[in-house]
C-alpha cells in the first residue's frame, strides 16, 4: 500500500433493513459525509454487517487506500468487533474503525425523518472527527486463571457450579447463610410436576458438596473484588461459625440442648423458633451448625457453654475468628437470588396484624413436613383447620405506585395454582378462591396445570383485586371485586395467602458495586444484551445466573445456570485473553505526581516511580505515574481525575473526545 500521510476516510452507512432507513434519509447522510474533509469514499448498503456489506468495506479499504473507516450503523456494542475484523482482513489496523450509532441513538428513538436525519449527520460528523485522530493500536494478551467463583448457593449457583466443575474447572461457591440450598430448599412441592422440592434439590446439593472440583464456603461473604476478566482477586470473609467443621459430626445434640430457643427461625420464615446454635434445616450442607452470636447466651453474658459441654466431638469453639480467604478467579457468576418484598406499606391486607394472613412462601413452609406445623394446614392464630382460603395475586407486583414493583414476578400464578390444587387434593372440604388480575401461565405444560386447578380441582378464580382484608369474629373478611360479573364481593374466609412480589436479594447492590456490574432501577443485574447475551453482565468476566437477573422459575433458572456455566467454561478454556489496547497512558512531561489517578483507579493499574525526565532540556528526577497496561481496563477514571491532562486514554483521548464534541456543536 502506498504510504500516505493524509487521512483517507471511508464512510459506510447501513440501512439495517428499514430499521434505520425508515427514519433516516440515508442519501442525505451520504452527501453530508462525503463533504467532510478527509472523506474520500461514502457508500450505503442494506445490511452492512452481512458478508456482502463487509466485503464492500474491505474492497473500499484496498481500492481507495483508506486510512480510517466510519460505519454508521447500530451500537458499537453490537457490531464494532465485526467491522474491526473486516478492517483487519483488509490490512487496516482494527482500531482505525469508528462507529456512528444511528440506530439506537437515532432511528429507534426518533419518529421524525427530518430530526432523525439531522442527528444522524451530526453523529457521523463526530465519528469522522474522531477517526481523524485515531492511532493504530496493538492488542496485548493477559493470562486466564482457570478457576471460577459463584456468589450464591441456591439452585442457580449450585447448577452453575456443577456444570463448570463437570467441564473440569475448579469452582468455589460463596454462600452467605450457613447452608447451600437457597430459596428452593424452602419450597414444598414444585410446579408443574408437583414433585417434592427437597427430593430434587438435595441430591444436587450433595453432588456439589462431593464434587472434587467444587469448594463450598458457607456462612461466608465476598468482601473485596479487584482485578479484571481472567484474573479477579477476591477476598472472601468466612464468618466465624464457632464450630470446627473438621470435628463436628452433625449429631445435633447441641441444638437440642441449647437453652436459648426463642430465636425467630429464618428458614421457616420466622413462623417458629430455633436455637442459638443451629443448622437451618435437616438436610443442610454442610451439616455443621453455626452459633448465632447475637443471640447466644455465652456470647452475650459469658455464662452458659452448654453446647460445648454436650459436644462429644469437642467441635464448639467460642474463640473462632472470621477468616479471610484470598483467591484468584478467571470468571465470577452472580447467583444471589431473591426475597419477597416487605409488606409494611400494604396495610389493606392486614398482614402485620392478622396471623392468618400469610405470604405464599410462608404457606410453603406450613405445607412442608419439616415446617412449623409439620405439614399440617392450619390457622396460625388458633391451630384450627381452615374451611375456606383466599389467595390474592399480584401483591406488590405489576404495581403502579411506589409501594410495590412495576414488574410481574412471573412465578406467582403458577405457584398459586399449585397451592390451590394441593390444598383441594389433600383437604377437599376447603373452599379455595383466587383473586387475580390476569392468569399468566405460559410455559411447557403450565397452562394445562392451571386449567387442571380450575377444572379438576374446582378452584374458584375471580378476576379482580382485593381492596381490604380485616379480622371479623375470629374469621377474615375479604372485600374485593369481580370484574367479569361487575359486582362487589364481601366474603368470609379462614386464611388469606398473599402472592407477594419478589425482589433481588438486597445484598446484590453491594456485590454489583464491588464487581462494577450494572443493575437496573429494580436492582436486577443488567445483562449485556437482552436477547443475545442474556447471561453476561456488560462487565467482562461477570456472568448472571438465576433471579438476580430477573424473575424466573426453577426450570428457567436451571437453564440459565447452565448457560452461564458454558459461558464461564468458554472463558476458562482459553489460556490467554486478548486485551483491550484502549488503555490509559501517562505523559511524563505533564505528570505532576499528585497521585489522583492512582487513588481513583479501580484496577490498581497505576503506580508511581521516580524517573529522570528530560523536559525540553531540563533533566530532573520527577515522581511520575506509570500505567500497567495489562491491568488497565480503559475505564478512563484516571483521565478525568488528572488535573493536568497528563493521563490520556488511547483510542478515547481527550483530543478525540473534544473533536467529537466540536463536530457535534459545529
Amino acid at each position: 500500500m502506498e504510504v500516505n500521510q493524509v487521512q483517507r476516510i471511508g464512510v459506510f452507512v447501513c440501512h439495517c433493513g428499514t430499521n434505520i432507513a425508515a427514519t433516516v434519509d440515508i442519501k442525505r447522510v451520504l452527501e453530508a459525509a462525503a463533504k467532510e474533509p478527509g472523506v474520500v469514499h461514502a457508500e450505503d448498503y442494506q445490511y452492512m454487517c452481512s458478508e456482502a456489506g463487509q466485503q464492500k468495506v474491505r474492497e473500499a479499504i484496498k481500492e481507495k487506500q483508506l486510512t480510517g473507516v466510519v460505519v454508521c450503523s447500530c451500537s458499537p456494542r453490537m457490531h464494532e468487533n465485526t467491522f474491526r475484523g473486516a478492517a483487519q482482513k483488509a490490512g487496516l489496523n482494527p482500531y482505525m474503525v469508528e462507529i456512528a450509532n444511528i440506530r439506537e441513538h437515532v432511528s429507534w428513538i426518533h419518529k421524525n425523518i427530518e430530526e432523525g436525519t439531522e442527528k444522524a449527520i451530526i453523529l457521523t460528523r463526530a465519528a469522522i472527527a474522531k477517526v481523524m485522530l485515531n492511532a493504530p493500536l496493538q492488542a496485548g494478551q493477559s493470562k486466564v486463571v482457570k478457576r471460577a467463583l459463584v456468589i450464591g448457593g441456591g439452585i442457580a449457583g449450585i447448577q452453575t457450579a456443577l456444570d463448570i466443575a463437570d467441564a473440569g474447572y475448579e469452582v468455589d461457591i460463596v454462600e452467605k447463610t450457613p447452608s447451600i440450598g437457597g430459596r428452593m430448599s424452602q419450597l414444598d412441592k414444585t410446579f408443574p410436576t408437583l414433585d417434592c422440592s427437597a427430593c430434587i434439590l438435595t441430591p444436587k446439593m450433595v453432588d456439589a458438596a462431593a464434587h472434587e472440583k467444587i469448594t463450598i464456603y458457607t456462612y461466608s461473604e465476598v468482601e473485596k473484588v479487584s482485578g479484571f476478566v481472567g484474573d479477579f482477586q477476591v477476598d472472601i470473609r468466612k464468618k466465624a461459625r464457632s464450630v470446627d467443621m473438621s470435628k463436628c459430626t452433625g449429631c445435633g445434640v447441641c441444638q437440642e440442648k441449647c437453652p436459648s430457643k426463642k430465636i425467630p427461625n429464618e428458614f421457616n420464615r420466622e413462623l417458629d423458633n430455633r436455637a442459638a446454635i443451629y443448622t437451618p434445616f435437616a438436610q443442610a450442607i454442610p451439616n455443621v451448625p453455626v452459633i448465632d452470636r447475637e443471640n447466644c447466651i455465652k456470647f452475650k453474658t459469658g455464662k452458659c457453654g452448654v453446647c460445648s459441654k454436650v459436644c462429644l466431638a469437642g467441635a464448639v469453639d467460642y474463640e473462632q475468628q472470621d477468616e479471610i480467604v484470598s483467591q484468584n478467579y478467571g470468571a465470577i457468576v452472580v447467583a444471589t437470588g431473591f426475597d419477597t418484598i416487605k409488606l409494611d406499606k400494604y396495610e389493606e391486607y392486614s398482614y402485620q396484624s392478622c396471623p392468618d394472613v400469610i405470604t405464599s412462601l410462608e404457606l410453603e413452609r406450613i405445607m412442608n413436613a419439616a415446617g412449623p406445623t409439620k405439614g399440617h394446614l392450619e390457622r396460625l392464630s388458633d391451630g384450627k383447620a381452615p374451611k375456606s382460603m383466599v389467595f390474592i395475586q399480584c401483591v406488590g407486583s405489576r404495581c403502579a405506585d411506589e409501594r410495590g414493583k412495576s414488574y410481574c414476578s412471573k412465578i406467582c400464578c403458577m405457584y398459586t395454582a399449585k397451592h390451590a390444587m394441593l390444598i383441594r387434593d389433600k383437604y377437599p372440604d376447603v373452599d379455595v378462591t383466587v383473586f387475580y388480575i390476569d392468569v399468566r401461565t405460559p410455559g411447557k405444560n403450565f397452562d394445562e396445570f392451571y386449567r387442571r386447578a380450575v377444572e379438576e380441582y374446582g378452584v374458584h378464580y375471580i378476576k379482580g383485586q382485593v381492596g381490604k382484608v380485616a379480622e371479623h369474629n375470629g374469621r377474615l373478611l375479604v372485600q374485593g371485586a369481580d370484574l367479569i360479573d361487575n359486582r362487589r364481593i364481601l366474603m368470609e374466609t379462614d386464611m388469606v395467602v398473599l402472592a407477594t412480589a419478589i425482589e433481588p436479594n438486597p445484598d446484590v447492590r453491594k456485590i454489583a458495586t464491588m464487581l462494577t456490574a450494572s443493575i437496573d432501577t429494580n436492582n436486577f443485574l443488567t445483562e449485556s444484551h437482552a436477547k443475545l447475551r442474556p447471561v453476561e453482565s456488560p462487565t467482562a468476566g461477570i456472568f448472571l445466573s438465576g433471579v438476580c437477573q430477573g424473575p424466573k422459575d426453577i426450570p428457567e433458572t436451571v437453564a440459565q445456570a447452565g448457560a452461564a456455566a458454558i459461558k464461564v467454561v468458554g472463558l476458562l478454556a482459553k489460556d490467554y485473553l486478548v486485551t483491550n489496547p484502549c488503555v490509559a497512558k501517562s505523559d511524563e512531561l505533564y505528570c505532576n505526581g499528585c497521585s489522583a489517578c492512582e487513588k481513583v483507579c479501580p484496577y490498581g493499574a497505576i503506580s508511581y516511580e521516580d524517573r529522570e525526565v528530560n523536559d525540553h532540556g531540563i533533566r530532573e528526577v520527577r515522581r511520575v505515574a506509570s500505567v500497567n497496561s495489562a491491568l488497565c481496563q480503559g475505564c478512563g477514571a484516571c483521565t478525568v481525575a488528572c488535573p493536568s491532562g497528563a493521563m490520556d486514554l488511547q483510542g478515547f483521548s481527550n483530543r478525540q473526545i473534544l473533536a467529537e464534541v466540536d463536530a457535534i456543536c459545529r
Partner: protein
C-alpha cells in the same frame, strides 16, 4: 512580631539549620508586600516584613524551593498550612526540605476596602489596634480593623496551624476568628434561576483580563503545565479566540481544584478585577460537604479525599440531575 520572626530567621540562617528564608518583603507601597527569598541576615534586616498586609500564601513557593539544595525556612499563617498539607498530600513538596514557622495571624487587610471607605492617598497603615491608623497625604485617618478584613478572613477557618516546626505569636490550639457562614453567598446564588445565575457569572467573568494571577497564586493550581498553556489540547487556542471559551477558564479551573481547594481565598485576593472567584470553589466545597460529608482539604496529609475515594455510602451519580432540576 515582625522583629521576633526576623531574629529567629537570622538565628536559623546563622546556625545553618536553613540555607534560605521564604517570607515577605516590603513592596513599593506600604500595603503591597510580596513573597521573597532571603539568603542572609542582612537581606532580612533590610526588607523582611510581617504585618496585616502579608496576605500571600507562601506554601506554593515551596514546590520550587523544595527542589533546591538545603532546607528552606517558610513562614506560614494558619490558613496557609492547609495549602501546605494539601501539597504534601499531592507529593508536590518535600517536607524534609522545609522548616516551618507557624506565625500568628489577626487576619489580613483588604486595601480596596480601606479605599472604598473613602480613604485616599494612603502612605502607610498601622494595624496594631482595633482601629486602623492610616497615614495619608491628607493626614491620619481611622477605620475599624474588622471592617477592612479580607473576605476570606471573615470566614476564617481558625487560628490553629495544621503543620509546623515551631510557632511564633500563636498557640498550639487557637480558636477561630470572626466566623461568618462562608456559604451564605453560595446559597444566594443557588436560589437564583439558571438564567439569572448564568447572567451573574457572565457579567463577573467578562471582567477577566486573563492575567492568570488567580492561577499563579492558587496553591492547588500547581500543574507543571496548565491545560490552558498546553498544545496537547485545543483549549488554549479556543480560549484565545472566543470570549465564552475564555470565561470557561475559570469554570475549568474550579473543576480542576475541586476537592483539593482549601478555600484559602488567594484567587479572589489577587484578582485585579475583583471577581469573586472563591465562590466557584466554595460551591464545590458546599456540594462535597452535603453529598459526601464534611471535608476540609489540607486538614491532614493522609485522609482519603471525597472525590478520589469511593465508598458504598457515596451519593449516586443521578443525584446531580435531581439537584439540577430544583
Amino acid at each position: 512580631m515582625q522583629r521576633e520572626l526576623m531574629n529567629r530567621a537570622k538565628e536559623l540562617l546563622i546556625d545553618e539549620t536553613v540555607v534560605r528564608v521564604l517570607g515577605w518583603k516590603k513592596g513599593d507601597l506600604g500595603y503591597n508586600h510580596e513573597p521573597a527569598y532571603f539568603d542572609s541576615p542582612e537581606e532580612l534586616e533590610e526588607n523582611f516584613v510581617y504585618d496585616a498586609f502579608c496576605g500571600a500564601n507562601l506554601s506554593k513557593y515551596m514546590i520550587e524551593a523544595g527542589k533546591q539544595e538545603g532546607k528552606t525556612l517558610v513562614f506560614l499563617k494558619p490558613c496557609d498550612t492547609y495549602s501546605f498539607n494539601q501539597l504534601l498530600k499531592e507529593h508536590r513538596i518535600k517536607r524534609e526540605n522545609t522548616y516551618i514557622i507557624g506565625v500568628g495571624c489577626r487576619g489580613n487587610l483588604d486595601i480596596d476596602k480601606i479605599k472604598a471607605a473613602g480613604i485616599k492617598g494612603i502612605e502607610s497603615v498601622d494595624a496594631d489596634g482595633d482601629m486602623l491608623k492610616v497615614k495619608t497625604v491628607y493626614g491620619e485617618k481611622e477605620m475599624p480593623f474588622e471592617e477592612a478584613l479580607l473576605e476570606r478572613c471573615l470566614a476564617c477557618k481558625g487560628k490553629t496551624h495544621m503543620v509546623y516546626d515551631e510557632l511564633i505569636g500563636a498557640g498550639e490550639k487557637e480558636e477561630a476568628g470572626p466566623k461568618g457562614n462562608r456559604f451564605d453567598r453560595v446559597s444566594e446564588l443557588e436560589s437564583l434561576s439558571p438564567e439569572e445565575r448564568f447572567a451573574f457569572w457572565r457579567s463577573e467573568l467578562s471582567k477577566c483580563i486573563r492575567c492568570n494571577a488567580c492561577r499563579n497564586a492558587c496553591p492547588a493550581c500547581s500543574c507543571l503545565k496548565c491545560v490552558f498553556d498546553s498544545n496537547q489540547f485545543d483549549s488554549n487556542q479556543k480560549a484565545n479566540a472566543d470570549t465564552f471559551e475564555e470565561q470557561m477558564f475559570h469554570i475549568i479551573r474550579a473543576f480542576h481544584v475541586a476537592g483539593r481547594c482549601t478555600d484559602c481565598g488567594e484567587c479572589s485576593r489577587v484578582c485585579p478585577q475583583g471577581i469573586p472567584l472563591h465562590l466557584l470553589n466554595r460551591k464545590f466545597i458546599k456540594d462535597i460537604n452535603t453529598l459526601y460529608g464534611e471535608y476540609q482539604a489540607g486538614e491532614d496529609t493522609d485522609s482519603l479525599a471525597p472525590l478520589t475515594n469511593y465508598t458504598f455510602e457515596d451519593a449516586e451519580p443521578g443525584i446531580v440531575a435531581e439537584r439540577g432540576r430544583k
